[in-house]
């Protein structure tokens, strides 16, 4: 009887959080779904009736769709590759005995706490500016012509900025995983004559695989929707228009709500596919 009582109390305590999140998820999503089937142009007559699947077809057939998909994939892939490779190396290095480990850790983690608009602007102006940027000075010092980073190498520039922001996250999580590695196992393999590269390939990397998977999934979800970094650097020009940015432009700049909403639904589906994999891993861990 007491259990019955506490069960209903528990349900009551959960209710506000569940109701709020349900509302937050369903109301806007249903609205987006609705708009995606309408001819909705607020600046040109408002809601002009049903469009069927026209918006979905037009979104995919527009000349900016496939470039935006490849831009998104290049940015996500590039940032993932850089942060995972350097993250593993950094985590292994930071796990070694050294002086001032705590301070180095703080230095490495710091970029994660810088707000996206600040990091994008600092990189854009103080490093990548073709006249006054530090890179320009460095290039000139070595006798090379300064690069106009954000127009000539726009994707590379965005990848550099975003990688700088996310490397700390990858490093921190991988470091946590490295520290849970069984030291005796490594010692035993060393005594059996395993070379450093073998130890890395057969013991360390398999041990890290779960953490790496989690970093990949979480970062992918956040990277698919990076916005501020593009908003304040290139504004989507010079081939940096990602899927997120394309939808943003359709909705707020060209005010074609129907078309933008169809794009939004595509983005939701894409994010869900990745989220399913992440949920499986997190869910498994919950049982353990």
């Amino acid at each position: 009887m007491a259990t019955q009582h506490s069960r209903s109390a528990a349900r009551l305590m959960m209710a506000p959080a569940v109701v709020l999140l349900l509302g937050w998820m369903l109301v806007p999503l249903v609205m987006t779904l609705w708009f995606s089937f309408r001819n909705y142009l607020p600046l040109r007559g408002g809601d002009l009736g049903w469009a069927g699947f026209d918006n979905y077809v037009r979104f995919i057939n527009s000349s900016s769709f496939w470039p935006s998909v490849s831009t998104t994939l290049i940015i996500v892939g590039g940032v993932l590759a850089i942060t995972i490779v350097f993250g593993v190396l950094l985590a292994l290095l930071l796990d070694q005995p050294m002086w001032g480990q705590g301070i180095v850790r703080i230095l490495v983690i710091a970029p994660f706490f810088v707000m996206p608009t600040v990091s994008a602007l600092v990189w854009k102006n103080m490093f990548m500016d073709p006249v006054n940027g530090l890179f320009a000075h460095l290039w000139k010092f070595f006798g090379a012509a300064p690069v106009e980073w954000l127009s000539q190498a726009s994707l590379t520039s965005i990848i550099i900025i975003v990688s700088w922001q996310w490397l700390p996250f990858a490093t921190l999580i991988l470091l946590t995983a490295v520290q849970s590695l069984d030291g005796e196992q490594l010692e035993a393999s060393e005594m059996d004559g395993a070379k450093p590269l073998q130890r890395f390939g057969f013991i360390i990397l398999p041990h890290l695989s779960r953490a790496i998977t989690i970093v990949v999934l979480i970062q992918t979800i956040f990277l698919l929707s990076i916005f501020a970094e593009i908003f304040v650097t290139t504004g989507g020009s010079f081939g940096t228009r990602t899927l997120t940015y394309l939808i943003f432009q359709r909705v707020l700049e060209s005010q074609n709500i129907g078309l933008g909403s169809a794009g939004g639904i595509y983005a939701v589906i894409l994010a869900n596919i990745i989220a399913i994999f992440l949920m499986r891993i997190v869910g498994k861990n919950l049982d353990a």
Binding site: A10, M14, L21, M98
Partner: protein, 276 residues
């Protein structure tokens, strides 16, 4: 001799780690240094590192000219308000899921997490419409609510992983000793839960402070927090390196300091307990 080898390796490790660490930190260091230069020194060719006339002028100018205080206040209010509101909603939920789990607890937790994966841009226009309808556009209150909702799953999750570590036997023992639900909450659970709640508060304050999609899209002049204030420096006429640096330094300094305290919680909070 063995000791000698370790010392040598330790020196190599230390050097490598410090060089890389400083390299990664350099953009932040450079921003802080530039904030103390005059505009002329900031764009000097070749660049000046440490030996210049340090000045606080930029901080004064930013403070006076741009109502910096109001943006700062907006940031504090939005980040703090959304975190506290989130905690009020999340603490009972996480508490009941951790101590009175049912068959559906896991599904509910995973579903909550899945709402976090919803791409913001997909629901931008509906939120925009709702905000206009309720007069919440460019209001501190509206942004506080949105940020509370987007961080709620993380708050529930973090609290859940902390609460789950509190042994249930202690509660049973308290109940056996005749403690009422009220005293159970007040004297047994609360003291054990406070550290977890504090770390959750810290991490979510940081996440809300740095949020840069909704803050950029739902505010204009009135309710803009520091993220939006800094973004206004991207227009060409606002291109003053030293002033940009001073504004940036002020915007990131409080969070850098808070962040250093929350390194450990960061892993737990952002991997939803999947990496410990």
């Amino acid at each position: 001799m063995a000791r000698n080898v370790t010392t040598q390796r330790k020196i190599i490790n230390t050097t490598a780690a410090w060089v890389i660490g400083l390299l990664i930190f350099f953009p932040i260091l450079w921003t802080i240094l530039t904030s103390f230069k005059t505009e002329a020194t900031a764009i000097a060719d070749p660049p000046v590192f440490l030996f210049f006339d340090w000045t606080l002028e930029n901080y004064q100018v930013v403070n006076e000219r741009s109502n910096y205080g109001r943006f700062l206040w907006n940031s504090i209010f939005i980040a703090g308000g959304s975190t506290i509101l989130g905690l009020i909603v999340a603490i009972p939920a996480a508490w009941s899921m951790a101590f009175v789990p049912s068959r559906r607890t896991k599904d509910i937790l995973l579903w909550m997490l899945s709402t976090k994966m919803l791409p913001a841009v997909g629901v931008l226009y509906p939120i925009y419409l709702i905000f206009i309808k309720f007069g919440l556009l460019d209001s501190v209150l509206g942004l506080t609510i949105v940020l509370m909702l987007i961080n709620l799953p993380i708050i529930v999750w973090m609290l859940y992983t902390y609460f789950r570590e509190i042994p249930g036997e202690i509660l049973e023992a308290a109940r056996m000793d005749g403690a009422s639900l009220k005293s159970e909450l007040l004297y047994v659970l609360t003291p054990m839960a406070v550290p977890g709640i504090a770390s959750t508060l810290l991490l979510n304050f940081i996440l809300a402070w740095n949020e840069a999609f909704w803050t950029l899209n739902l505010t204009a002049a009135k309710a803009a927090p520091l993220t939006a204030f800094i973004a206004s420096y991207s227009s060409p006429e606002g291109l003053f390196y030293a002033k940009l640096s001073a504004a940036s330094t002020m915007a990131i300094a409080p969070i850098l300091i808070l962040g250093w305290f929350s390194q450990k919680q960061l892993v737990r909070g952002l991997t939803f307990g999947a990496v410990k």
